[in-house]
Amino acid sequence: MRSGNQARLGSTLPSRESAESGAPLPSRRELFSSLGNGFVGGALAYLLGRDLLSAQPLPADSGQAPDLKPRRPHFEPRAKSVIHLFMNGGPSQIDLFDPKPMLKKYEGQPPGRDLTNDVEQIASVGTLMPSPFEFQKRGRCGMEISEMLPFLSRKVDDIALVRSMFTKHFNHEPAIFLMQSGRTIVGRPSLGSWVVYGLGSENQNLPAYVVLDDPKMLPVNGLQNWQAGWLPPVYQGTRLKSEGSPLLNLKPKEEFPTPVLNMARSILTRLDGDHLHRHPGQPELQARITNYELAARMQIAASDALDLSQESPATHEMYGLNDEATASYGRRCLMARRLVERGVRMVQLYIEEQIWDQHSDLAGGLRYACGKTDKPVHALLTDLKQRGLWDSTLVVWGGEFGRLPLSQHPDKKAGRDHGPPGFSVWLAGAGIKGGTVYGATDELGHRAVENPVSVHDLHATILHLLGMNHRDLVYRREGRNERLTDEYPARVVNGILA
């Protein structure tokens, strides 16, 4: 099992014997190329990481050290990996996914008491405002999508659109926490942490839960978005950077000559070997040695996974890497594909701080946000399909809330305020029934009224597709069984499943 794997890999690292016998130290290049027998590539790195690792049962209250070994889900999963395209800021359902012709009729009328009650910034509230964009029926299924998403419009037969999401808070911070962790408060484990806690990872040379955030800016709630909360920190999201060195301290800040580095490793191997010898039967000490070996392997595996120069010019073009508007998000979409290809369980993409948060200049803001993401997302869906990853990868697109059918700052270029009671998300890929429209908001697009889907329902559905029952994925803490869905009612949204 794992030890076998370690033994094989470990044997290529400088051993105590070779150091003590004074044999010439292998160069770093020799060392690492011997890892992959000269091959460098995703497939091999993937195989190296995953072979010999058989599935473990879900972690229970066994007191065993937390790890990322692959674990068997509760039942046969539909999806093995998740790519979560988190669109923080609150994309406007009314202008993108959820056409509301009735708004034309009420255009310019002030809101009633109850609609006003959902407004976050009351000082700037305007009147009912229809979408300035045209909607058209698309694809074989005839799903209506806004003209702002021309690329996604070609993929409607592959996605299931949920138009009846709702959430509980009209501020970004709590609403994002809710979407990420099931509660509006900080400190609980994120969805991704639960997923890798439940399933481990198929590739031990890469982090199990990878976050690709926007190099421009951290999202609202920053690093807390991918925290493990009180789950063991090993389940925390690891931020891989899409520019420069992918992982913090993956390489030393200053270059050292290879022989010096190798000697340093060899000294450490000797010190720890001797120490382990004096403290036999201490699993932590062995784990620590393994950890340093993994760190060394990760140096190549992570660099390799994010090396987009290995992709063809056609692929670069498809993801929009040659166009300034789409290059940044395109890079991350392409990286996401390369990561799930290598067995990474959970990849989350974030977007620069408030790209979807159009309090004013709705049209300009949406044009920018869609222009940045629409083409890359389309490329990702296409690419997953053509590489046979479609049936094992779940793609989730959505933000923390939607927007109100009202104008905001009507004196300037109008925008829309946050709209928690109704918004849209879509899912695609493994286990999803393409071409589905699920649920509906009221005629103003304000509140989810038909088949409302809570954030907990969405979480339960994602876990379900990964082969887990949200009620059984528990972590025992201070004597209590904790869950992602906490004590909230949650159901699997069967209507969107294939």
């Binding site: 009328q109 009351i122 000082a123 970004h172 690093l223 913090l248 403290h279 950890n291 201070e478 209590r480």
Partner: protein
């Protein structure tokens, strides 16, 4: 004119009806002339399809059977399932509406929900049953009573202007009586006559709460159902809510007395130390208790630890830093048989002791230097005083009962109204109350200052207090009775009522100045302005000139604004209907208090035409906009130079009675249940002296009563929980492994007698924490070797809980960073004061800002929630949301990467090597010895020495041969050696032996 004024609101009302008509699910009540729906035809088929599998004749989950009307009305364990006439109050409807039921299935469709709602609202009748039957049983609609109206509708919106602090227009809206009394305009309500009630009129007209103040005062408009409720309440004569406390207690949520089986609720006993076979290993009673269990398994203690290993353990354990090579040498030479005991005393006297053990308490208190919750994550510039208080208290060995008393009720010990006359020493107890100010608190931001967020702050503090001091998970009882422990929901509200005279969610103080709002907003700050003379002088020296500058800038802007303002007012007045212009002008010329009724009315009505709101000028005049932006930017810059007035981040009672405290059904502030008085958990009352409030002159006495109640010597929890915490930090695991949960689901104590003995001994020694350290550290158990504590040697008991050997422990994040700094000579030992800034590097690493004197200990680094120091974060320093009673210990790749590649590690290794060379000169063997003494507190063995000489020699040769290409100007030989030794030191700082002790 009246028509002109109200057109907008009329329009809005008409639209509201339009909206209602098109929104499914918000169908207005239809005329109730059709016969009411019957159970058998309308409801039973639905129940059969969705509910009866679990609540039917065969199975009755929750003792509930829905298969007949009779059984349905009877209800189940949670009470009646239906309140005829009110779907909203019926459990059955609540559950299906919230989607909680049917369990695991799709929720009911809106049509099905509507069918159930209508059936209940129309009386929950059987097919063909006479509506009169229901009429006779109940009123058609349940009465709206004061509970439904006061807190959920009025308190949440109105008290900021009509409450304890301010009573605008003489009006106080806190109670039914005060509403009846009314204000300047007479009674606010006429029971039975909604149309004549000012309260309703003003709300209905959307004058109250004033829409322009919504954002500033953090209120939302009254919704239509709320308005209707208010109307009905007044129409029905504004009935008070009858207390149904007794009936509630009789079913389900009683104050249960089933504590007999919960060990931790019984007062600790004082067991005698048992007799054991290996009596030669018994140094004090601790050993006897431990050996008894070990011997029962055929085990014993491990051999005593090596002398230097024990020395290192004592250092790392008590001060979190390794001994210097000289200290190792001196201790090695010390032949006094009491050398170890004297060492422990020395370390307990060290000023670094409080920095190590204070940190544990700061975890439990949830200490942070920022507010959290909101993205801006505002800093808490005054929090450090509490951190320093904790460190000082540990250094002074402040008796634990006193330590708790000050932290829980310091403001009730010291009269904070006389703050200015108090010496820095006298204000210590006020600083101590920072303990109850550490929860994440985003309410300084207007967007997060609504009642639910305020309740979250209070709940977090209850969690901190109960988990840290009592080992209880009381916060679990916020929404329902505790599922496992004898803690009814009422206990949570009793307990939070203790905090309510300071933390009143309807009379809120914000934690600090909001970021962008102008000073002096509607919410006072929860800060006490206080500084030592020296601090005040410094602030004055700094701020004086800056304030002058700001004043000058603002004056200049006002001067520039004047002509624009005049122009705008002129334009505005022209918009007043012509016929009235002259009258308004005339009214304005009359002094405010001598205006006639009509004039007053005119001025009030045209307020917006007569005043210039902030921002209006900028909107209207482009020339002014530019000018104003320029000046305001200059003001902002100047303001950034202002030092905040030194303050204490304290918790303090506010004068007067707090708003009434209710149990909140399901934790929702819109659903108040019974009024609840302050008190302690009911199940503990049987085993403790009563919680009794004696009111000091200036405060409520509530927290004082709590602290005294906790400090009683035989309290079942206080001493046990702290003794367990002390044990946990010495051995890595508490006798109760779940230090924050002494309840049924917590781990039961591995050695209950030992825990009781320690708890009683703790009290007997005057609650002295240092006495406990001495006791534990001089035990035979503590002095065991850690050589072999793996599974084999412990005969299968998990986690070595029986302690047959000292459990190997990893340095925690702070001790690791501090030790690296100390060894490399970069530790700046300066204690106390404002937190040291951190820097976010380009690659995202958060590092500490150090001076030429070095870096200070980790406990003094800025603990901003959004930028935790990467080094500490990587090694499991917890995010405190709200607190942490036990850190997890991870083994992740980022730790290896951090220690191997980070700036801190690389730089420290070079400094380490430099200090070694400085100390012992160029002799390689002495250098190796010094590295071992500094990093591992021992001499190298012969073979280690050999290996090290060879390794460093090889590196030295390499550098000698290759240095030219690097820095040709420097002396090659000494630099080569230094670099070679650096590499060795770097490996040493990464080694397991350095990190585990």
């Amino acid at each position: 004119m009246a028509a002109l004024l109200s057109r907008a609101s009329l329009f809005r009302l008409s639209l509201l009806t339009a909206c209602l008509a098109v929104v499914p699910g918000a169908i207005p009540a239809v005329a109730e002339t059709d016969p009411p729906p019957g159970f058998e035809t309308r409801v039973l088929p639905l129940l059969q399809a969705k509910c009866l599998a679990c609540h039917g004749p065969q199975i009755q989950q929750g003792e509930l059977d829905l298969s007949s009307l009779e059984r349905l009305l009877e209800g189940g364990a949670a009470g009646p399932s239906v309140v005829p006439g009110s779907a909203e109050r019926s459990l059955l409807f609540q559950k299906v509406e919230a989607g909680e039921m049917p369990l695991g299935q799709d929720p009911l469709s809106p049509g099905e929900l509507e069918a159930i709602r209508r059936w209940i609202d129309r009386g929950a009748l059987a097919d063909g049953q006479d509506p009169g039957a229901f009429q006779a049983r109940n009123d058609l609609k349940p009465a709206v009573t004061s509970h439904d109206v006061l807190a959920p509708i009025l308190h949440v919106r109105c008290l900021i202007c009509h409450g304890r602090r301010t009573q605008e227009a003489g009006l106080d809206l806190r109670t039914r009586a005060s509403i009846l009394k009314g204000g300047k305009s007479g009674p606010a309500m006429v029971p039975g006559k909604p149309a004549e009630s000012l309260l309703l009129q003003r709300i209905q007209a959307e004058e109250m709460p004033p829409p322009k103040d919504f954002s500033r005062y953090c209120v939302r408009p009254v919704t239509s159902p709320e308005l209707e409720k208010l109307r009905r309440w007044i129409a029905d004569g504004a009935p008070e809510t009858p207390s149904n406390g007794a009936s509630r207690d009789s079913k389900g949520s009683t104050d249960r007395n089933d504590t007999a089986d919960l060990w931790s609720f019984q007062p600790p006993s004082r067991p005698a130390a048992p007799r054991v076979a290996q009596s030669d290993r018994v140094r004090n009673p601790i050993d006897a208790f431990l050996l008894e269990k070990l011997e029962a398994r055929g085990l014993g203690f491990a051999p005593p630890a090596d002398r230097l290993a024990l020395m290192r353990r004592a250092y790392l354990d008590l001060v979190g830093l390794p001994p210097t090579p000289d200290e190792v040498r001196a201790y090695h030479r010390d032949s006094d048989p009491q050398a170890y005991e004297r060492l422990v005393d020395r370390l307990l006297d060290s000023a670094h002791y409080g920095e190590r053990w204070g940190r544990y308490w700061l975890d439990a208190a949830g200490y942070a230097d920022s507010e959290g919750k909101v993205h801006a994550d505002n800093l808490r510039p005054h929090a450090y005083r509490y951190r320093d208080y904790v460190i000082r208290s540990f250094n002074d060995d402040k008796p634990y009962d006193r330590f708790l008393l000050e932290q829980i009720a310091g403001d009730e010990l010291v009269d904070y109204r006389k703050l200015d006359s108090l010496t820095p020493d006298a204000v210590e107890p006020l600083i101590a109350t920072g303990f109850l100010r550490m929860a994440p608190d985003g309410t300084w931001s207007g967007a997060q200052n609504f009642v639910p967020e305020r309740l979250d702050v209070v709940a977090d503090q209850v969690e901190v207090l109960s988990s840290t001091v009592m080992g209880l998970t009381l916060a679990c009882a916020r929404c329902h009775d505790h599922k496992y422990d004898p803690l009814p929901q009422r206990d949570f509200y009793r307990f939070s009522a203790i905090l309510r005279s300071a933390y009143d969610p309807y009379d809120w103080l914000i934690p600090q100045e909001p970021l962008l709002a102008p000073a002096g907003g509607p919410f006072p700050k929860r800060l006490l302005r206080y500084g030592s003379e020296e601090e005040l002088r410094e602030v004055k020296r700094n701020n004086g000139p800056v304030e002058q500058e700001i004043k000058r800038l603002k004056r200049s802007l006002e001067e520039k604004a004047a002509p624009f303002k005049a122009r705008l007012l002129r334009e505005k007045r022209e918009k007043i209907p012509e016929a009235l212009q002259a009258d308004v002008e005339a009214a304005l010329k009359v002094a405010e208090d001598s205006r006639s009724q009509l004039q007053k009315y005119l001025v009030e009505s045209f307020q917006e035409f007569l005043t210039v709101e902030p921002g209006e000028l900028e909107k209207r005049f482009e020339e002014y906009r530019e000018e104003s932006a320029k000046v305001n930017e200059a003001v902002r810059k100047a303001e950034n130079k202002l030092q905040r007035h030194p303050s204490i981040r304290a918790l303090f009672d506010m004068p007067g009675e707090p708003t009434p405290n209710y149990l909140l059904i399901r934790g929702e502030h819109t659903r108040p249940g019974d009024a609840v008085e302050p008190g302690v958990p009911s199940a503990l009352q049987a085993h403790t002296r009563p919680f009794r409030i004696r009111k000091p002159e200036w405060s409520s006495g509530r927290r004082l009563a709590l602290a005294k109640w906790l400090g009683q010597p035989d309290h079942p929890l206080t001493a046990r929980v702290m003794a367990n915490r002390i044990w946990q930090h010495h051995f890595g695991r508490g006798l109760v492994a779940t230090p924050g949960n002494f309840g049924k689901l917590g781990t039961s104590p591995s050695h209950p007698e030992l825990l009781d003995w320690l708890a009683t001994e703790f009290v007997r020694q005057g609650w002295s924490v240092k006495a406990m350290h001495r006791l534990i550290m001089t035990s035979g158990a503590y002095r065991q070797s850690s050589g072999n504590t793996g599974a084999g040697a412990t005969n299968g008991h998990s986690e070595n809980s029986l302690l047959s050997g000292f459990p190997l422990q990893r340095l925690d994040a702070e001790a690791l960073r501090d030790s690296i700094l100390k060894i490399s000579g970069r530790l700046d030992p300066t204690p106390f004061g404002p937190a040291d800034e951190v820097e976010v590097q380009e690659d995202g690493e958060v590092t500490s800002q150090c001076t030429t004197a070095g870096c200070r200990r980790s406990v003094y680094m800025l603990q901003r929630r959004t930028t935790p120091l990467t080094m500490l974060d990587t090694f499991d320093a917890p995010q405190l949301n709200p607190n942490c009673v036990k850190r997890s210990q991870s083994m992740v790749t980022s730790q290896a990467l951090q220690l191997w590649n980070s700036r801190l590690a690389r730089k420290s290794a070079r400094h380490f090597a430099g200090r070694v060379i400085d100390a012992v000169g160029s002799d390689l063997e002495s250098q190796v010895e010094q590295v071992y003494l500094a990093a591992l507190s021992r001499w190298p063995t012969a073979s280690e020495r050999q290996a090290a000489l060879r390794e460093i020699g090889e590196l030295d040769r390499y550098w000698s041969e290759h240095l030219d290409s690097h820095t040709p100007a420097e002396p090659k030989r000494s630099r080569a050696r230094w670099l070679a030794l650096s590499t060795f030191c770097h490996a040493m700082l990464n080694s397991a032996e350095f990190i585990f002790y």
